[in-house]
């Protein structure tokens, strides 16, 4: 049964890796990898020295991912614990389904919803707040840099939180029930049980997921920032993926796109190694 996943990785992950060499070439898409000229580090130099948006995109990528991690990482854990405490199976299933439904929405749809809800003047929230007299000026959710970044982060948390709970929920189910019973006999209340039994019980899972998340620091999806972004907040929403799209794909400069991608991967590898090292130092298992 392992044939399929192994084949998947060979065909779609390892074979394309050979293409990484075009980061060091002046890539000619008609001559292919073998016919193109080698140029050493010229592509990296060009991107770093000549493309002034690159540092901005790099900074935004790290910032948005960091914000997402800080705001988004604890939420699934809290949700999982809360879901775990719901007694009625029906209510539990219903709330779980409702929570992870957004995960299945495409960003194009979410982008449209965000526009309807957060737009200045015509957005639902601004209209409500204005008509109630809570605010006397539009809140620039989408049109001011910092506001946009917060909106972006929270929408991301909303979209992914339900999905993230699945892993934690299963980890919680894996905790030995006797531990809870023992705690109860010792007189621990609900909160104390959570603190002294549930959380330590899923600590391993939390650490592994944290390491993986840190490893993803340099990666950012394309559709979310591209769809939610707008020129008003260009300096705040331009991230590596949208930058690569503009700098590499739209004008067929694949070698530059690849160079940036390689750079991303190398930094990602360094970060994940550091996180793993730190986790091991703290006595956790780590991921390798």
């Amino acid at each position: 049964m392992l044939v399929l996943p192994v084949a998947f990785y060979l065909i779609f992950c390892y074979k394309p890796m050979a293409g990484v060499v075009i980061a060091f070439q002046k890539y000619n898409l008609f001559k292919g990898i073998f016919g193109s000229k080698w140029v050493g580090l010229d592509n990296f130099k060009f991107v770093i020295e000549k493309m002034r948006d690159f540092p901005i995109a790099l900074y935004n990528t790290l910032l948005l991912n960091m914000m997402g991690l800080i705001a988004g990482f604890p939420v699934p854990i809290i949700l999982a614990i809360m879901l775990n405490e719901i007694r009625s199976t029906k209510a539990k299933r219903l709330s779980q389904t409702l929570l992870y439904l957004p995960h299945f929405l495409s960003w194009v749809i979410i982008g449209g919803m965000v526009l309807q809800i957060f737009a200045p003047t015509t957005g639902v929230i601004n209209q409500l707040l204005l008509s109630w007299g809570v605010i006397d000026k539009n809140i620039p959710f989408l049109t001011d840099g910092i506001h946009w970044q917060i909106t972006y982060t929270l929408v991301g948390v909303w979209q992914s939180m339900g999905w993230g709970t699945i892993l934690y929920l299963s980890a919680i189910t894996g905790i030995n029930m006797e531990l809870f019973e023992a705690a109860k006999i010792d007189g621990a209340n609900k909160l104390q049980q959570v603190w002294h039994v549930t959380l330590p019980g899923i600590r391993g899972t939390i650490v592994v997921l944290l390491i993986l998340n840190v490893g993803q620091m340099m990666n950012i999806g394309f559709d979310r920032p591209y769809i939610m972004g707008n020129p008003l907040v260009q300096d705040y929403c331009d991230v590596l993926s949208t930058f690569v799209y503009r700098a590499g794909i739209t004008n067929a400069k694949f070698e530059r796109a690849t160079a940036i991608g390689l750079f991303q991967s190398v930094v990602g590898l360094i970060m994940i190694s550091l996180a793993n090292l730190a986790a091991k130092r703290m006595g956790e298992q780590g991921i390798w």
């Binding site: 898409l29 008609f30 948006d53 003047t121 015509t122 049109t143 020129p231 700098a247 004008n251």
Partner: protein, 532 residues
């Protein structure tokens, strides 16, 4: 189970290895032709009336199976590049992205066409003409002789600019059509004050066209350019950066003022492309600027749609964007070449011959006429004394089996062709039944004080390197200078201009300047008017 999986895998791998074979075993050749797809409801390019006609009249007699390969009009450049790098591109490719074509030529990826055209394409050469063909010639081996790598489509109507104002609003306000910027602004203000479009009144339709933010905005800001301070060299150097020409700043200041007076859609920067069309037919707009025949087109008829929502409303052409220094109403017109037709280098010689034969067949008048106009009684009801179809039916009213897209299939001609310039001109207004006079008036304005848009006959490397970056900065510039507080305008403007220059515009300007000095340029400079 295991076996099934591995078999599926092997099958998948085999499938991905197969490139498209050009010649079938039975002696029939295949010819794959790219055609733009515009998502017309009920219309299937791969099985349409036009394709059946091509197959019957051209394919069958020549033992060629013609296939149309639909490519989304709006992503055509990216799709083409992907197809080129995967060698899955059609045998005949088309694109509006000249930059991309220049790159393909630089990489040596296109078929050289001189001999093929001379041998197999007498009709095509006659239709395009020698001058137009030079637009597709490039000196790649630097021997001083240019070779033909691109077949430029012929543009029938070069008019580009159409400005439209609400006739019913003018009547309601008891105003005449504005003839200059001042009167235009007075109209916008009056329309806003009277709330003629209801609560949502937006007197000036102003959108952000992300892929080239300033291309249409310059229609509003160019009238502020002081042409007596612009040299011809600067005109060509700054051809993609009119925002830096003397006087343009005043234009953006004017837009900033309009924005703060509430005459422009407040959230223009974040509205998606469809919103503008929707607002337009709901009658919220008092003015918009697009192509000269835009309100009355059969595929997207803003006029009739708006009339349904707002009875009595109508669009009428206006010529009010007059230069504040010299009283001209300048209009840019397209260069005589349309999209670029190319044949990828790996295409076999036999297929390339078939491709050229196909284009040659397409340029015969009878075939072109059918491909562009369709079937009498279905797509149009009759022809007039000049042989020009009249009572042309709107796309959505034609039966699915007869749906067609004129320009996209017959791509050697950008625009409908009826045999001569006079007939073509006479024909421009005919399809717009009931609106002929308005269309004529609109084209009249579009051909007033014209200048031909600028292009260069050499590849501008900086455009490839920085073009997209510069455009994105131009979008940011536009939003910033239009929405910033008026007292901050000067500072914001200077900073945003600097950002455009830093993003690579300086390199582009320098390279344009060098190309101008070397004489590798096309298009016209309107210059300052000569004293009368």
């Amino acid at each position: 189970m295991k076996k099934l999986f591995s078999m599926l895998l092997v099958l998948a791998m085999l499938l991905s290895c197969f490139a498209m074979p050009a010649v079938a075993e039975d002696g029939w050749a295949t010819l794959r032709v790219e055609v733009f797809d515009r998502n017309v409801a009920g219309f299937n390019l791969e099985d349409c009336m036009q394709l059946h006609y091509v197959q019957e009249k051209f394919g069958d007699p020549n033992h060629i199976k013609v296939e149309f390969v639909p490519v989304s009009r709006w992503d055509e450049g990216e799709i083409l590049t992907t197809q080129m790098s995967g060698t899955t591109a059609p045998d005949i490719c088309i694109t509006y992205n000249g930059n991309l074509v220049n790159q393909y030529i630089d990489m040596g990826g296109l078929k050289q066409l001189d001999d093929l055209l001379n041998e197999y394409a007498p009709n095509l050469k006659a239709f395009l003409g020698d001058e137009l063909l030079t637009y597709g010639q490039f000196d790649t081996d630097e021997d001083g002789v240019k070779e033909q790598y691109v077949i430029p489509a012929r543009r029938i109507a070069v008019a580009n600019v159409g400005n439209f104002i609400r006739g019913d609003w003018l009547a309601a306000l008891n105003m005449e059509k504005p003839t200059n910027i001042e009167e235009f602004e007075a109209y916008l203000v009056a329309a806003k004050n009277a709330n003629l479009g209801g609560q949502m009144t937006i007197p000036l339709d102003f959108g952000l066209f992300k892929s080239d933010p300033l291309i249409n905005v310059k229609r509003f800001t160019d009238p502020f350019i002081d042409y007596s301070k612009v040299t011809e060299e600067d005109w060509f150097a700054y051809s993609l950066n009119h925002e830096m020409l003397p006087g343009s700043k005043d234009g953006y200041k004017w837009l900033n003022k309009l924005y703060h007076e509430g005459l422009i859609n407040e959230s223009f920067a974040i509205q998606d492309d469809d919103t503008g069309d929707r607002y337009r037919v709901q009658g919220y707009f008092g003015f918009f600027s697009q192509q000269p025949d835009q309100p009355w087109r059969t595929d997207k008829n803003f006029e009739t749609e708006m009339e349904k929502n707002v009875p009595g409303s109508y669009w009428t052409p206006v010529n009010c964007l007059k230069n504040v220094y010299d009283n001209r109403t300048l209009h840019d017109v397209y260069a005589p070449n349309g999209l670029s037709i190319i044949i990828p280098g790996w295409v076999s010689d036999e297929t390339a011959i078939n491709a050229i034969k196909y284009l040659d067949w397409m340029s015969e008048y009878e075939n072109m006429f059918f491909l562009q106009n369709g079937t009498e009684g279905k797509n149009y009801l009759a022809v007039n004394e000049d042989g020009i179809p009249i009572q042309v039916q709107a796309t959505d009213t034609v039966e699915d089996a007869y749906k067609m897209h004129a320009g996209d299939v017959c791509f050697i001609s950008n625009g409908l062709f009826y045999g001569s310039d006079e007939k073509n001109a006479a024909a421009t207004a005919i399809p717009f039944t009931g609106y002929e006079d308005l269309v004529k008036e609109s084209y009249g304005y579009a051909y007033t004080d014209t200048w031909t848009s600028v292009s260069f006959s050499v590849a501008i490397q900086a455009e490839t390197d920085f073009g997209e970056m510069v455009k994105s900065k131009q979008g940011e510039f536009l939003v910033k200078v239009v929405t910033c507080a008026p007292e901050e305008f000067d500072a914001v403007y200077d900073e945003a201009i600097q950002a455009i220059l830093n993003a690579g515009a300086q390199d582009i300007i320098d390279e344009h300047r060098a190309a101008y000095q070397a004489g590798n340029f096309r298009g016209t400079f309107p210059g300052a008017p000569t004293a009368e």
